[in-house]
């Protein structure tokens, strides 16, 4: 067995050795795992992973190389890739680069040959925690200090780190709806799905105020996915609170959490989050089950502050803006996966209907949202 050239160290002292295969530098942050079996490049470029190191539970990573079309943003946001059997195949059909070359060139730390299952079982039992990937040359004492210096995920505003500096507009065909997006790190798949349905998109920095967001007279406000703790984003929550009831508001993932906070609901941190492509979610309006792409560490509390909801029912509970109705529930752990506001226009989902990576079962939600938007717009 070749000698270890890098290691993963967790805040609680658990250590897993492996072989360095990316940029030769330490990387620290929150260590999370994803169970998705494909879409490694999508994951690394997903801004929602900012501040996190991704452990891939699927062992073979890099098989089909990387290509421009698989990126979910303009750069890598995850801080490191932790893998069992990474390869650098540039001769795969359709590959533009080798995976490991791409990581190294992007300055991204990566480690392979790690017993990722042992690591994942540790996180599953102990909860997601801070940690890092370190070259073997970095002494553990030093590594521990680096980890200690990294702020906790709880209470952390990472939206500012990924949001664009200024507004951009992506014009759609004339007559389509105009949607203002609070860009807390929107995935390109979301942009693509909205544009494919004829929308014109305004992408705003997350610090935009209500006036700026309404300046272009959008038909709806869309709250994007993004990294970090929704509890640390009160400035966005306040903005959203001003918009609810004035325009239809929709949100995905972090956007879902922000809208919920804006109407007075609470969010909390999950033990190790949902990251993968196989969680069953039930749409309580159609009673259909969809297999979903998931990537979040925080969730919204249900009625009476409950973390889980026992029955498959479209339960309603009060918010500052009237009733909210549960529209989607996670069948794995029965957490809130989506809700709709019944007295004002607004609906959100916790998971990722845009996929990228993951199944396409929930893409109908974009149709549903846009249908509602155009119904309102035509009045």
């Amino acid at each position: 067995m070749s000698e270890a050239t890098a290691y993963v160290l967790l805040a609680d002292g658990a250590r897993f050795d492996g072989i360095a295969c990316g940029a030769d530098r330490p990387a620290v942050g929150e260590v999370v795992f994803t169970t998705s079996m494909s879409g490694y490049q999508e994951a690394m470029t997903d801004p929602s992973y900012a501040g996190q190191l991704i452990a891939f539970t699927y062992p073979q990573i890099g098989n089909y190389g990387v290509s421009a079309e698989a990126s979910e943003s303009d750069r890598v946001h995850a801080r490191a890739a932790i893998m069992r059997a990474a390869v650098n195949r540039e001769d795969a059909p359709g590959a533009e680069r080798g995976w490991l070359d791409w990581l190294s060139d992007g300055g991204v730390a990566a480690i392979t040959d790690v017993d990722t299952r042992a690591l994942v079982r540790h996180i599953r039992d102990a909860g997601a925690m801070k940690g890092g990937v370190f070259p073997a040359s970095v002494p553990e004492v030093e590594a521990r200090e680096l980890i200690a210096a990294e702020p906790e995920m709880r209470g952390r505003d990472l939206a500012r780190a990924v949001t664009p500096p200024r507004r951009t507009v992506l014009e759609g065909p004339p007559g389509g709806p105009r949607i203002a997006i609070i860009d807390t790190g929107v995935k390109l798949s979301i942009v693509r799905n909205l544009r494919e349905r004829g929308a014109t998109l305004e992408l705003h920095p997350c610090s935009a105020d209500a006036g700026e967001l309404l300046a272009g007279d959008p038909d709806a406000i869309f709250l994007a996915n993004g990294p970090g703790d929704p509890g640390a984003l009160d400035y966005i929550v306040d903005t959203v609170r001003e918009l609810v009831g004035r325009r239809p508001v929709y949100g995905i993932c972090l956007g879902h959490q922000l809208l919920c906070r804006a109407v007075g609901l609470e969010t909390y941190k999950l033990p190790f989050g949902h990251h993968g492509a196989n969680h069953p979610v039930k749409d309580l309006t159609t009673c259909r089950i969809e297999i979903t792409s998931q990537n979040h560490g925080f969730a919204v509390l249900g009625p009476d502050g409950a973390r889980t909801i026992d029955r498959d029912e479209a339960v309603r509970w009060e918010t500052d803006f009237g009733a909210a109705e549960l529209t989607h529930i996670n069948l794995y752990d029965r957490t809130v996966e989506g809700l709709a506001l019944r007295e004002v226009q607004g609906a959100t989902v916790q998971y990722h209907p845009e996929a990228g990576p993951g199944p396409h079962d929930a893409r109908y939600l974009f149709d549903r949202f846009l249908h509602e938007i155009s119904a309102v717009a035509s009045h």
Partner: protein, 1025 residues
């Protein structure tokens, strides 16, 4: 939606005998389905002709009918049992086809039987090529360009549109029977004709070739609420052009991007909805052009399949079990995931390992057969391996195959590369060799179209085969969720990992109870099949009943033994000493059971013993005593029993020298196993010379010569011994005379023509041998009765192939009883009756795969070639034999023309057969010599020409379809006796062909029995009540 309350009794149809393309996977899925339905409180009626299955154990269903899987007997069962519903999706193509016939002929409607699982329309849309194509096109999916043809002329016309090369796919066949690839006009007529003959409706699809494209399969499930999940993706390493059953496969898929994979997933969901399978599982096959992203749908099976069994074992998601629950009304969400017990079945498994499946072939058993791999499946079994990485899994799968000899590659690189271009059984051995020699993976890709990712991985493996196994062995769980939730179900595989700070802790919770390890039988192969898996499952059940943890080690994904419900802990591992010792080190078992899995575990016994692992039951000393010819011979002598004269020669010269002393005819075989083309009967010195020349011998290796007792009756005895007391469970008389491998011979229990005195001697000698060997557990002894003399042929101190048959025939679970004895129970404490007669006669018949091996002779001989077996039960021998023949697919004609052409020594017996057939109104035709002999007895027989005597000759008669029954025994001593073309023509046309005189006499009597009308159907529960 809860379970349906309007259903009370459900009929399930099994898949019948093990044949190529339809094997033990349907015992796995059928058993799961029966158990689930019973647990749900339904009455379950099961029809399956295969006694070597767990599903036909009497406690698995309410009523179990071991009857032929033909419309007549199944209709009788329906009339008798009046089920509310028929679930046809768990018994392979056989059950699906049968359900279709029973719908078409009105039986289901007449008795008010509802098809559940897949309705008639869905089955038809998936199975009828033209409708399937239309359904896909309407759903916006691309299928290969194709045309349906019913004649060769139509095929010639269609080529203009479809292009060359094209694929032939006959309608309504299993495992691709009659399929093939037409590369040029030259092959066209021959291959299209073969395809048309194979299709029961005389229809084939000719289809645009997507040779070289990537081949992918998705296992999909759908419930009544229209929820769909994709359980697993499977990628074939062999690109399109090789049947998926013959391909090396990996799960999950490795080479597609997320976008490409999601496109396949979307299409698979569209397919199951469009075909309209409302509840249950389906398998959808795609071809993907990696360069252009083009996807075409190849086919879908609206039922559980070999691939669904593989997917279930690969992911821990039990497709058949869930399919059965869906069929009675549950939705996916209402069914818990066994493995996590906390989450519902409405999800898609995430795996954190790789699974590789290797097919196991048996070409060496069929000299002369075309050995290339095509769309027509030829493998007889498979091994699966789980590893943390692709390389670990691939290497484990390699050793799981248990090949007798490592395939040899040509020394010359160019020849090797040329060989790679033609897919064959050893293709990946040659690929590894090419890569080991440093040949460029890009060149290998050019020759094979194998995806470069695999070739790079294999190149690493070829360069350093041990690298994936650096680190420490640790056992990890198969948990459906990549460790996201804690697993409850103990299903493990070994992984090699870099040790952590505290070593590499196992995930196995060993508990405190003593454990017993049961070694399975590995991949199915000819001679070692489902019968042994049956015994291993019984052993696991018994070990649990006796308060120990049952621990199973096996690597065959088709089987019930590798269902995680069967044992307390399942280790999916290769059956090599090293791998087994890895489990022993962790388990510290009370003992290991090696007698139930055939030769595979027996070969490990000595090594385990030497390593200090206790072997339960018969010790290794007894195993050696039985296997060592001279020691065993001395033992017989001490007991005063006879054995046929034999000699062991150390060279060809010595063989020729001692042959006359032993006496002709001789059964001759080399001591080393050379893939099987080894054992033959020779009648003279010339014959022996010819044999030695053809087979060749390795210097220093021994040649065994045994006197062959011509025209003797062979008998198999299965018995139980506790080291002292012996209980004879069953005495089986072979229908074919000695010289036919016991595994290929039909047999009858109780014996139909042995006297009381002979039976007593058989019991006495069996008991004597068992005691002398010191057997604790099962023993099988083979005898030959020659005149008044009884000869011992061999003794095997282990479970034999006939254990399940005997168990079903006598109504007592022989393997379970043996397991009790091995764990210390005395025979006197078992409470077994001294005699096991129950007034019924049971006949075991075998099925042979000759239709798969064009070019091979269909003659029975001392080399086993059958893949499976069936059982016929009736109050008398001829009826039971007739049922067994029908069940084996050799449906005997009740009228018509019989052609008889036999060797001189068989002519007296042939006249007897002719007499019976003549009385039954058959027209008899015979080659000149045979005709003359028959006419001498006053029976009319029309003489016809032999093959060499000009047209119209005997083969012309058969090919013109004017013959309904062929009786042909081999003439001469060469490998290819004169009858070869006759038998080949009969096999090609599906005409029953009997190659032994005793078989012919039994057949004639069975035809007479058939004439008396449909025999009664009886359930096992009634027979043994």
């Amino acid at each position: 939606m809860p379970r349906r309350e309007d259903l009370h009794k459900i009929l399930l149809i099994g898949s019948g005998p093990i044949v190529i393309g339809q094997a033990a996977e349907f015992d796995y899925s059928g058993t799961q389905a029966c158990r689930v339905l019973m647990q749900e409180g339904y009455e379950v009626v099961l029809v399956n002709s295969n006694p070597a299955t767990i599903m036909t154990d009497p406690e698995v269903a309410t009523a179990t009918y071991i009857e032929p899987l033909l419309p007549g007997p199944v209709a009788q069962v329906i009339a008798r049992e009046r089920p509310d519903a028929l679930l046809p999706t768990l018994g392979g193509q056989t059950a699906l086809n049968l359900a279709k016939v029973l719908h078409d002929d009105g039986t289901l409607a007449r008795h008010g039987v509802e098809l559940i699982g897949a309705d008639y329309e869905a089955i038809d849309r998936a199975e009828d090529r033209e409708r399937f194509r239309q359904t896909m096109t309407d759903a916006g999916l691309r299928v290969p360009r194709s045309a349906i043809v019913r004649t060769v002329a139509e095929a010639c016309e269609a080529v203009a549109e479809v292009g060359l090369p094209f694929i032939i796919r006959p309608a309504f066949t299993l495992g691709g029977t009659g399929g093939g690839v037409v590369r040029d006009e030259h092959d066209l007529a021959r291959l299209v004709e073969r395809g048309l003959a194979a299709s029961p409706i005389g229809q084939v699809l000719i289809e645009e070739s997507v040779l070289g494209w990537g081949e992918f399969e998705l296992e999909v499930m759908r419930d009544r609420a229209d929820n769909v999940v994709v359980v697993c993706s499977i990628e074939n390493l062999d690109p399109m052009g090789v049947h998926t059953g013959d391909s090396v496969c990996v799960a999950p898929q490795q080479t597609l991007t997320d976008k490409q994979f999601q496109a396949l997933r979307d299409q698979a969901i569209t397919v199951i909805r469009a075909v309209g399978v409302e509840t249950g599982g389906s398998n959808v096959q795609f071809a993907v052009n990696p360069a252009t992203d083009e996807i075409v749908v190849i086919e879908m099976n609206p039922r559980v399949s070999r691939s669904s069994a593989l997917a279930s074992k690969a992911t821990g998601f039990p497709i058949a079990k869930i399919a059965a629950r869906l069929a009675v009304g549950y939705t996916l969400q209402e069914i818990p995931n066994d493995i996590t017990s906390a989450t519902p079945a409405s999800f898609e498994p995430a795996v954190d390992y790789c699974v590789v499946k290797w097919p196991r072939f048996a070409f060496e058993k069929f000299p002369g057969a075309e050995a290339g791999l095509t769309t027509h499946m030829k493998s007889v079994g498979e091994a699966m391996a789980i590893g943390r990485t692709f390389k670990q899994a691939f290497a484990k799968a390699l050793r799981s195959r248990e090949l007798d000899a490592r395939p040899r590659s040509p020394a010359d690189d160019e020849t090797l590369l040329d060989l790679l271009a033609r897919p064959g059984a050893e293709r990946f051995d040659h690929v590894l060799e090419a890569l080991r020699r440093g040949l460029d993976p890009a060149e290998v890709h050019r020759r094979t179209s194998i995806d470069p990712w695999f070739l790079h991985e294999l190149a690493d493996l070829a360069r350093d085969p041990d690298a994936p196994f650096a680190g420490e062995r640790t056992f990890k769980s198969v948990d459906t969720c990549a460790a996201e939730f804690a697993a409850q179900t103990p299903y493990y595989y070994s992984a090699w990992e870099r040790p952590g700070r505290n070593g590499t802790p196992h995930e196995v919770d060993r508990g405190r109870r003593p454990s017993v390890i049961i070694l399975g039988s590995g991949p199915n192969r000819i001679g070692q099949g489902i019968e042994f898996d049956y015994c291993c499952v019984h052993a696991a059940q018994t070990v649990r009943e006796l308060g120990r943890d049952a621990v199973m080690i096996n690597c065959n994904p088709e089987t019930v033994s590798t269902d995680y419900d069967t044992s307390d802990r399942l280790y999916f591992e290769p059956l090599t000493l090293e791998d087994v010792m890895g489990v022993c080190a962790l388990e510290q078992p009370e003992g290991v059971i090696v007698q139930f899995g055939g030769q595979t575990p027996l070969k490990l016994a000595a090594g385990l013993h030497a390593a200090g692992v206790p072997i339960l039951g018969t010790g290794i000393e007894a195993i050696d005593l039985a296997e060592d010819r001279s020691r065993f011979s001395a033992l017989l002598e001490r007991c005063g029993y006879r054995a046929p004269p034999y000699a062991t020669a150390k060279s060809e010269a010595e063989a020729l020298q001692c042959a006359p002393k032993v006496g002709f005819p001789l059964l001759v075989r080399p001591s080393y196993v050379l893939g099987g083309r080894a054992m033959e009967i020779v009648y003279s010195v010339e014959g022996l010379l010819d044999y030695l020349e053809r087979v060749g011998t390795e210097p220093g290796a021994a040649i065994y010569l045994d006197r062959f007792l011509e025209d003797s009756i062979e008998v198999d005895v299965d018995a139980l011994c506790d080291g002292d007391a012996v209980w004879v469970a069953g005495i089986m008389q072979h229908v074919e005379e000695a010289g036919i491998h016991s595994g290929d011979s039909a047999c009858v229990l109780p014996p139909h023509s042995l006297g009381a005195e002979m039976l007593t001697r058989l019991r006495r000698e069996t008991a004597g041998i068992a005691r002398a060997l010191g057997v604790v557990g099962l023993i099988n002894v083979q005898f030959a009765i020659h005149g008044e003399d009884l000869y011992v042929i061999e003794a095997n101190p282990r479970a034999s192939r006939t254990v399940p048959f005997v168990s079903k025939a006598i109504g007592l679970p022989l393997a379970k009883l043996a397991c009790r004895v091995m764990l210390g129970t005395r025979i006197a404490e078992l409470g077994v009756p001294a005699h096991t007669a129950n007034g019924h006669v049971c006949v075991k018949e075998v099925v042979l795969p000759f239709d798969r091996f064009a070019g091979a002779d269909s003659l029975l001989g001392p080399e086993m070639r059958s893949t499976g077996e069936v059982m016929g039960v009736a109050p008398d021998f001829p009826t039971a034999f007739a049922k067994a023949q029908a069940a084996a697919g050799a449906k005997l004609p009740d009228r018509g023309t019989a052609v008889i052409t036999v060797a001189d020594r068989d002519k007296p017996a042939a006249t007897g057969v002719a007499t019976v057939l003549d009385n039954l109104g058959f027209r008899i035709i015979a080659t000149h010599g045979t005709a003359q002999a028959i006419r001498r007895m006053g029976i009319p027989a029309e003489p016809i020409n032999k093959l060499g005597e000009g047209s119209p000759h005997v083969v012309d008669w058969i090919e013109r379809g004017e013959v309904d029954l062929v009786v042909n025994t081999p003439v001469g001593t060469g490998a290819r006796a004169d009858g070869y073309e006759i038998r080949a023509a009969a096999v090609a046309r599906g005409i029953p062909c009997v190659t032994t005189m005793t078989g012919a006499i039994a057949a004639a009597r069975a035809i007479a029995a058939n004439r008396r009308g449909d025999p009664e159907v009886l359930s096992l529960q009634e027979i043994h009540a």
